[in-house]
């Protein structure tokens, strides 16, 4: 099987008050298409930085990121934006919905960017799947945390991504809501055949994936493929 994400010798450093701070140190791994994966580690281990680099939100200091066969490190920011729109979906810990757009409009944005047609219908179907068809005209502030995350899920799947990055998707939710959202993520993922990358420090959530990459101090300290 061809890897959807291929990471080689990835390093990220920051210059801070004259000192070099290495946040990611020589990371190597690749993910297979359709697989579910978790990156876990304590705070400050570099997992969010890694996710940012994998998704093309940032540039590495050295090394290679290849997403769906495209070398991200050689692209400029606008070209990477186009890759994100074509192949990547996002779910964030704090939902990151556009506050001035309704739930429906939030879901429509990635499709509008692609210039697709009949997007309203598609977006409504997605909202229906996450159980929010009747809240489509509500603004984010009028929705609860769980509802906002479900809208964000619908948005993440709207452009039919090849790979979905989820950064602590249940970090801001209570246990009951978390469970529902996690179930939705995995159900939708299975249905769409998307590759899932979960960044979390919740071992229980990570255990639901096929592969767990453990990080500490900017390095991979374990890579377990589950049965």
């Amino acid at each position: 099987m061809t890897p959807i994400l291929n990471i080689q010798d990835l390093t990220k450093t920051y210059q801070s008050t004259g000192q070099t701070l290495t946040v990611l140190d020589n990371i190597n791994f690749s993910l297979e298409e359709g697989s579910t994966n978790a990156i876990i580690g304590p705070s400050g281990s570099g997992k969010t930085t890694l996710l940012g680099l994998c998704a093309g939100l940032d540039r590495s200091s050295s090394g290679m990121v290849e997403l769906n066969g495209i070398r991200l490190d050689s692209l400029n920011e606008d070209a990477r934006a186009q890759v994100r729109n074509q192949y990547v979906g996002f779910i964030f810990q704090n939902f990151q919905l556009l506050p001035t757009l309704t739930a429906l409009e939030n879901v429509m944005v990635p499709l509008e960017l692609r210039g697709e047609k009949h997007i309203r219908q598609q977006a409504l179907e997605l909202l229906d799947k996450v159980g929010l068809a009747d809240r489509s005209h509500h603004y984010p502030t009028q929705l609860s945390g769980g509802e906002q995350q479900r809208v964000s899920l619908a948005r993440a799947f709207s452009n039919r991504p090849k790979i979905l990055f989820a950064d602590e998707p249940t970090g801001n939710l209570d246990a009951e809501t978390s469970e529902k959202v996690v179930k939705l993520i995995f159900d939708l993922n299975r249905e769409a055949g998307t590759t899932l990358v979960l960044v979390t420090h919740d071992a229980e959530l990570a255990a639901k994936t096929q592969r767990i990459i453990r990080m500490k101090g900017g390095k991979i300290i374990g890579d377990d493929i589950m049965g």
Binding site: S16, L57, E77, A81, Q82, F90, Q96, T100, L113, G115
Partner: protein, 845 residues
């Protein structure tokens, strides 16, 4: 995705603005008044231009006017009498008249007319027939202000020189006369043929000779004038045609409208700075949304354009409202300015002005908004995960510098289009830049100083209030700039008006002469002085005046200079008639700054050293040692510039550009000027009557009259300036309100947190009040200091007078601005103070 997908950008701009429209409108509202001011001025300017074009004929009254300020050489008369199909002659001069009924006297402009002038337009009189009728006999038309002042009626008489004329009509309007010119020197028309009998036409009298011509329609007046000009110029005869009248008036009123436009432009700039700061904060709040959009695949350019479209949309709306308001305001301008203008002003909607205003509004809102907007290109999608470690610095983004350059270029371009003078445009742009930098410098220094010398010992509330001045998201810079500029502008206007009024009232103070008698003939000198003393009045000064022209400078004549501009002699030197005097001592208002003063010329063969006013010397480009030949009414007198004097022109006394030593001009045709001081209006009236009765040729300038005229004039001009300045002042207030509102959004979270932690209403109130007081007081103080410096410079270099600002009104202004800042600050923060923290948090969610 490669394409910008413009329709989607517009849709996103619309959606994104949803919860911010009223705020965006508030931001842009600060340019509305600036646009309104400019549209009003532009419309007024265009209408005025049209009115001048259409009324130029009535303003000049003839196809061609030839004028001279000395008697015309008899050899020119055949030419002057042969031009045109119809012709009129006029002699015009200042003289005293006497109303025998009331015994009132007044300095007026006598216009002795022969022929059927005006050929276009009319002398508007009551009764109407008097405009023609007065020419038939010993009759006069008298200006309506004079008639009112002396309670005179048609049928009464006036005495002009030795002749009594019957008033046959009240003059309401004459070609080219404005409300103001009628106040300064009201006109009295008499038939020319009675002028010799009045005895006012004496040698040395300052009379203007005018020849009016009407041509048939086939004659090309312009070509004719071009052909005649060399001959006429040689004899110091000037020409005016309808066309030159149109150009001259157009030019001088363009100066007026461009001055007013610049005053309006300052209001617009002030508003634009407000826009820039508001958008800056707005974009900072939008960082998260921009980062999300970037995550979802929106390119940097697209994200940038979404907000550009928003600004353009709201800028267009603001500009349209401004243009509508300006069109309404324009209806008021003619009423404000009518007395200053010689034409009937029509009020019409000027689409050109409206489009210019809207265009200007769009450009300026975009330009100033671009400063914060360019940072959008650098917003990383990584901000969705965390706030970027590497913040973009202003100094690293070359595009921001490009925007600053564009703004300066725009200010310069606009000013240049208004004034059409490079120098003035550069000065204006630099002035704006320096004002801005000084205020910004002060704000930065303040923030640094407060942080550096932070008074740790003060109570919590004071510390919190002070700390707000320099903490992240502070509004110190923008508030100090906008409030400071606004204050500086308001107080400068106040100071300048005071300087002008002081200059006049200073002259009216004790011991200064307040009455000037001129046109005293050589033979009347002793008798007038005696009469003055008889009336118990002092003869403060009595000086001879000799009129002359410059014939040659260092051997070059006017013609030489005209042909060769590289000679280093200014052609201006030959144009003017010079009123000179001769004496052996300096007066107390002048001092020698270069060369040596010659008291007397002992023998006719000695070199004559004249003394020149230093600024006049600079103007005509001569220095000590240069040779000047003066033409004293026909006699050529060679002289050498012996000294330069610094002259205080603000004193009410006779000052001279050129002073001769004794022993040269004693025998030249001359008249004398006498300065005295009268006490009460009754003494003044009695003295004037005595002089006019005994010496009808002598003219009297009563300073009280000049003062009242100046007062009226300044009042009218002051009103126009205040009217325009009001736009800036209100704009300053709008900027203040929007700045405070913006900071409210920033402070909301903090104040809520403080309240959550247990701060009570009083404490929040005190912290907010203190912060805005510091800001308001510092901004107002800085603005006032700036305007003191500016007004001092204006007083010293432009008005050449001393600057003694009254401190009480300044203090009042300071208190008003500081309190206003506090009140607006508190009013807009009341939500934080009055509501429960939870409510605020929910609302802001």
């Amino acid at each position: 995705m490669d394409k910008l997908n413009f329709p989607w950008l517009v849709q996103m701009a619309w959606r994104d603005s949803r919860r911010n429209r009223s705020r965006l409108f508030l931001f842009i509202s600060s340019i509305i008044l600036g646009i309104a001011a400019l549209v009003a001025i532009f419309s007024f300017g265009y209408n005025l231009r049209q009115d001048i074009d259409s009324q130029a004929m009535e303003l000049i009254g003839a196809d061609l006017v030839i004028t001279s300020n000395r008697p015309v050489d008899p050899k020119m008369l055949p030419l002057l009498d042969s031009l045109g199909n119809r012709r009129s002659k006029e002699r015009s001069f200042a003289s005293m008249i006497l109303f025998p009924k009331s015994q009132g006297t007044r300095l007026v402009q006598i216009r002795a007319l022969e022929g059927q002038f005006p050929y276009y337009g009319a002398l508007e009189t009551v009764p109407k027939a008097a405009a023609q009728g007065f020419r038939e006999g010993q009759q006069a038309l008298v200006d309506k202000t004079l008639m009112l002042q002396f309670d005179a009626r048609v049928g009464d008489s006036i005495k002009v020189g030795e002749v009594t004329f019957q008033i046959v009509g009240i003059l309401n309007k004459a070609p080219g006369q404005t409300g103001i010119s009628a106040t300064v020197a009201p006109a009295v028309y008499i038939p020319l043929r009675f002028l010799p009998q009045t005895g006012l036409e004496q040698k040395g009298s300052r009379i203007n000779y005018l020849f009016y011509y009407k041509f048939d329609q086939k004659t090309d007046v312009k070509k004719l004038v071009e052909r005649l000009e060399p001959r006429l110029e040689k004899e110091a005869l000037n020409t005016e045609t309808i066309e030159t009248q149109r150009e001259d008036m157009g030019r001088s009123f363009k100066d007026l409208t461009s001055f007013l436009a610049l005053v309006g432009f300052i209001a617009l700039l002030l508003g634009s700075i407000g826009v820039a700061s508001a958008i800056h904060v707005y974009i900072r709040e939008k960082l998260r949304s921009i980062a999300i959009l970037r995550c979802l695949g929106v390119s940097a350019t697209q994200a940038f354009l979404i907000y550009v479209i928003q600004i353009l949309g709201i800028g267009l709306l603001g500009s349209i409202i401004g243009a509508v308001l300006g069109t309404v305001v324009q209806q008021l301008l003619p009423q404000v300015l009518q007395d200053l203008l010689p034409v009937e002003i029509t009020v019409g909607i000027s689409w050109l002005a409206i489009f210019q205003g809207i265009g200007l509004g769009l450009i300026i809102s975009l330009l100033f908004a671009l400063l914060p907007l360019v940072s959008i290109r650098n917003v990383s999608p990584l901000n969705t995960l965390r706030i970027s470690l590497e913040s973009t610095s202003l100094f690293r983004d070359p595009l921001k510098w490009a925007v600053y350059a564009l703004i300066l270029l725009f200010i310069f371009g606009f000013t240049y289009l208004q004034t059409e003078k490079w120098k003035e445009a550069v000065y204006f742009t630099l002035g704006v830049l320096v004002g801005f930098l000084v205020l910004a410098g002060i704000a930065w220094t303040l923030m640094w100083a407060v942080r550096r010398f932070f008074p740790e010992r003060l109570g919590y509330i004071w510390r919190q209030g002070l700390a707000n001045l320099f903490r992240p998201n502070n509004q110190t810079l923008i508030l100090i700039i906008s409030i400071g500029l606004g204050t500086a502008f308001i107080s400068t206007l106040y100071f300048v008006q005071n300087i002008l009024l002081n200059q006049v009232t200073l002259s009216a103070s004790e011991n200064q002469p307040n009455m000037v008698l001129f046109d005293i003939q050589e033979g009347q000198r002793q008798a007038v002085a005696q009469l003055t003393k008889q009336q118990g009045l002092p003869v403060i000064q009595q000086v001879p005046i000799v009129t002359m022209r410059i014939e040659e400078i260092n051997g070059r004549t006017a013609e030489d200079v005209k042909e060769d501009s590289t000679l280093g002699v200014s052609p201006r030197a030959f144009q003017r008639e010079i009123r000179s005097t001769f004496r052996s001592a300096l007066s107390d208002s002048e001092k020698i700054i270069e060369g040596a003063w010659q008291k007397k010329v002992a023998s006719p063969n000695d070199t004559i050293y004249v003394s020149l006013d230093d600024r006049y010397a600079e103007w005509i480009k001569v220095k000590v040692g240069d040779e000047i030949v003066f033409n004293v009414q026909g006699a050529l007198i060679p002289t050498v510039v012996g000294s330069l004097r610094e002259v205080d022109w603000n004193r009410i006394q006779t000052n001279f550009r050129v002073v001769f030593p004794e022993g040269v001009l004693e025998a030249a045709p001359q008249f004398h000027v006498l300065l005295t001081r009268v006490g009460t209006p009754q003494t003044s009236a009695r003295f004037q009557q005595a002089v006019v009765r005994q010496f009808p040729n002598i003219s009297i300038i009563d300073l009280e009259l000049i003062l009242s005229v100046m007062d009226e004039l300044l009042d009218k001009i002051g009103f126009v300036i205040r009217f325009m300045a009001a736009f800036s002042i209100i704009t300053g207030l709008v900027v203040l309100i929007s700045s405070v509102l913006i900071s409210k959004y920033q402070r909301m979270q903090e104040s809520v947190l403080l309240r959550t932690l247990g701060a009570n209403r009083k404490q929040i109130f005190a912290i907010t009040a203190l912060e805005y007081f510091f800001l308001g007081a510092l901004a107002a103080g800085t603005g006032i200091v700036l305007s003191l410096a500016g007004s001092w410079a204006l007083a010293k270099y432009s008005f050449e007078t001393t600057f003694n600002p009254e401190l009480l009104p300044v203090l009042v202004l300071f208190i008003i601005i500081s309190s206003l800042t506090v009140v607006i600050g508190l009013f807009n923060s009341r939500a934080v103070v009055n509501q429960s923290p939870l409510e605020v948090l929910r609302a802001e969610g």
